[in-house]
Each structure stands twice: as structure tokens, then as C-alpha cells.
Symmetry: C2
Subunit: 230 residues, 2 copies
């Protein structure tokens, strides 16, 4: 499948590499590839300069957003949540395509911990779905660190990843992609329509509180049920 | 310890019974005990009429809120979140007392799933702490069903309960109470100051989405970490 990952932070890089390793034709999209490659500082969210990564992943072209839009049948939105709509406008049109949205609408303008720029009665994924009604948006992966996304077996199983979206076929495609990169089907929980993205995004403050309390982002949650329910 | 549970729904009843069983002197507070006893319908949140429960728990007096306030050294707020501040005004003054807040600020005015009446930059627990600055507010237990609160061993261990509050002594007292009603100390996670109640309350939409997806409220979450971190 032709897949474009947009956003060159830790999540975008990790997903691009893992999805390419699974055999897909992947490009990594960014607003200005030359500028992105020229950066020499670690980003505010902890991503080191992309040069060494890019040298080690020559099979993944770093391209402008419009080119990423032209390439991908499935677009992975791994941009910062507050920049996602603008970035997705640059990759449009998305008619019939799947947008796999892994972003979180974090607002760092008041410092750490960030607040959410949208929540409670709306979500980033719903905003994306409304902005691009002909796209099929699936929210997933936003509830964990990038290391866990692409290597679920680094943590003792089972632990869970969620999917939400209005299009069952798109959810099935995304779930299949999750399986290809290592997620056991039993650990993938379908939370229903795209409005459930509110629930997934509003979990972020708890994830951030756990990050601070545990002093590590190497964790995920498991839904624990009575023994007899399996 | 003299403990007053306020709120006669499923959580209030379950906590009152379990805490009394652990040996504490418990009263259950409600706005109008006669009216509460006279109800013959199941509540919108699924609580059956309290009469049979009351008959089975004669050791737990059902009292008006002012009397509950006079009794308790520790007040368990198990009222509906949108009614909590008014109820706690009726149990005041709380100087030096611990308010163990297990409520969620759920707004059902738009139907199901509810939204939160406060979130993101504030929380119910913070509102309570600001309203009663001489009280020591500890948020806990709001992230699970009442059955799990009082019987953690109904689910395969480990799974987690969170505490948040600005007063370390109050958190220690509440954690001790959690241990007395069955929570292993290792499963109790301290998320820091009372502002972390935002994180705990904003988890509710995910809890509600899981309730709908699983078709059961008999679940909780476990924080899964790499094997070597224990």
C-alpha cells in the first residue's frame, strides 16, 4: 500500500520506518524538506535533528506535503495537533483516502503540562473528519509513546490500542496495518465512531500525569476484566 | 475513624458499607433522609430504591448533610459531580478535615455519553479545594465502577487506583483507607497535587467509551511497564 506519514517528529519517524519495514511504499511528508533537513537542534518535543535518521532510512523519501498527499492512499497524521488541519490542507484532496490520525491537540502555550486545544464536546479527529468529509478518518495510537506504537512487545502483553472512526472498512484497514507492525488483534479495541476520539484524546492528561509520576514514557494501559470474560 | 459518606447512589452505598465493614464509624448523608427513603424508583444512574439496602445496613445511619458534616473527620464525596459543591456547603465547615472526592463532573443534559461540566484547565476536585481552602481534598476512585472500588480482587491483579491531592498527610490517610478496603499498596499510584484531578476526571470519557464498547462496567485499567521496571 502507498502510505504517507506526515510530521517528522519522533512518532512520524518511528511509524514511517516501521510501516516501510512491513513492506509498504512510504514517504515522509514535511512542510519544507530542505528546512527540516537543515535543522541542527533537538525539537521541543525531544526529536533530534533528522539528518542521521534520514541517512539511515534512504528508502523513505522526505518530501513536501503536496507530494506526500499525491503519494499516499493512506495518510498518517503524525503532525502536532495544533498544526494538523493546516498540514492536511496541504496534502489534500483526500477523497476516499484513509487519514490515520495519531495526533494530540496539545497546547503548550501555558507550559507543562499542556492543555488540550479542543476537548469535551469535540476532538481533533472530528475536526479533521468535518474538514475533509470525503476522507475516512480513523483515530488510533495517540494514547501511547512512539516506542510502544511500533514495538508493542517491549511491554508485557496484553496492553491495548484503540481505534475509532465512522467507516468500518477504514477501521479494518488500519487495524490490519496495526497487526502488520506487531499488534495482536486481541489487543486492538474498537471504541466505535469518530466521536470516541474525544475519549482517546482526553486520556492524554492522564498519560501526561503518569509520565510525570513514573518518570518514564515507556508504559501503556491494559483493560483488565474479570477472568471469566477472557 | 469517624467517616461520613455523602451521596446515596451506588458508589455512596458501596463505600459506606465497605468502610463500615472495615471498622469505621460511618454515616451516610443525604439532603433529605425521609425523601431519600421514600423513593420507590431506580435512579437515572441505576441505583435501586435505598429501603432494602438501609434495612440491611442498620449500622449505617442515614442522616441529613449537616449531621453528616458534624460526624465525619473524613468526608467521602460520592454525590453527583454537578451537585457536589452545594452538598459540601451543607456539610461545612471542613477545617482540617479530609474530603475524599470520588465524584465525576458529568453533565447529562445532552444525553449519553455525558460531557464534563468542568475540564482541561480546572476540575471538580480543584473547585472543591478552592471553595474549602481549610479542607484537605484528595481525589481518588473516580476512575472505576463502585463494584471495583470496594472489591478490587474481583479483577485479576494488578490494576490501579490513583490518588491526587496537595496534602501529603491526607493522601497517606486516604491511601491507608484504600488499603483497609482491599487495595494492595503497590496498586495505588500517587499522581501528585490536586491539579492532577483534571487528568483523573478527563479519563471518564474513555471509561464511558469502554463501557459502551465492552458492554460492561466491570473493568479497570492496569499501567503496564517493561518487565525490568517491576
Amino acid at each position: 500500500m502507498k502510505i504517507s506519514v506526515i510530521g517528522t517528529g519522533l512518532a512520524g519517524r518511528a511509524l514511517a520506518a516501521k510501516i516501510a519495514h512491513a513492506g509498504h511504499a512510504v514517504v515522509l511528508g514535511t512542510r519544507d524538506p530542505d528546512q527540516t533537513l537543515a535543522r541542527t537542534e533537538t525539537s521541543p518535543t525531544g526529536a533530534p535533528p533528522i539528518g542521521p535518521w534520514h541517512d539511515a532510512h534512504r528508502n523513505i523519501p522526505l518530501v513536501a506535503l503536496a507530494e506526500a498527499g499525491g503519494h499516499g492512499e493512506l495518510i498518517v497524521n503524525a503532525t502536532a495537533g495544533t498544526a494538523s488541519l493546516a498540514a492536511l490542507h496541504a496534502t489534500a484532496p483526500h477523497d476516499g483516502k484513509i487519514i490515520m490520525d495519531v495526533a494530540n491537540p496539545l497546547d503548550f502555550s501555558r507550559g507543562f503540562p499542556p492543555t488540550l486545544s479542543v476537548c469535551n464536546t469535540d476532538s481533533l479527529a472530528e475536526q479533521i473528519q468535518r474538514e475533509f468529509p470525503a476522507a475516512r478518518v480513523v483515530k488510533t495510537f495517540n494514547t501511547m509513546n512512539h516506542l510502544v506504537m511500533v514495538d508493542p512487545h517491549r511491554l508485557p502483553r496484553p496492553h491495548n490500542v484503540f481505534v475509532a472512526g465512522d467507516d468500518p472498512g477504514a477501521k479494518a484497514t488500519v487495524s490490519g496495518l496495526l497487526e502488520q507492525i506487531g499488534w495482536p488483534p486481541a489487543d486492538i479495541l474498537d471504541l466505535g465512531g469518530i466521536s470516541s476520539a474525544r475519549a482517546m484524546e482526553m486520556y492524554l492528561p492522564l498519560w501526561l500525569a503518569l509520565l510525570q509520576s513514573l518518570g518514564s514514557w515507556d508504559f501503556n494501559i491494559r483493560i483488565v476484566r474479570p477472568e471469566q470474560s477472557g
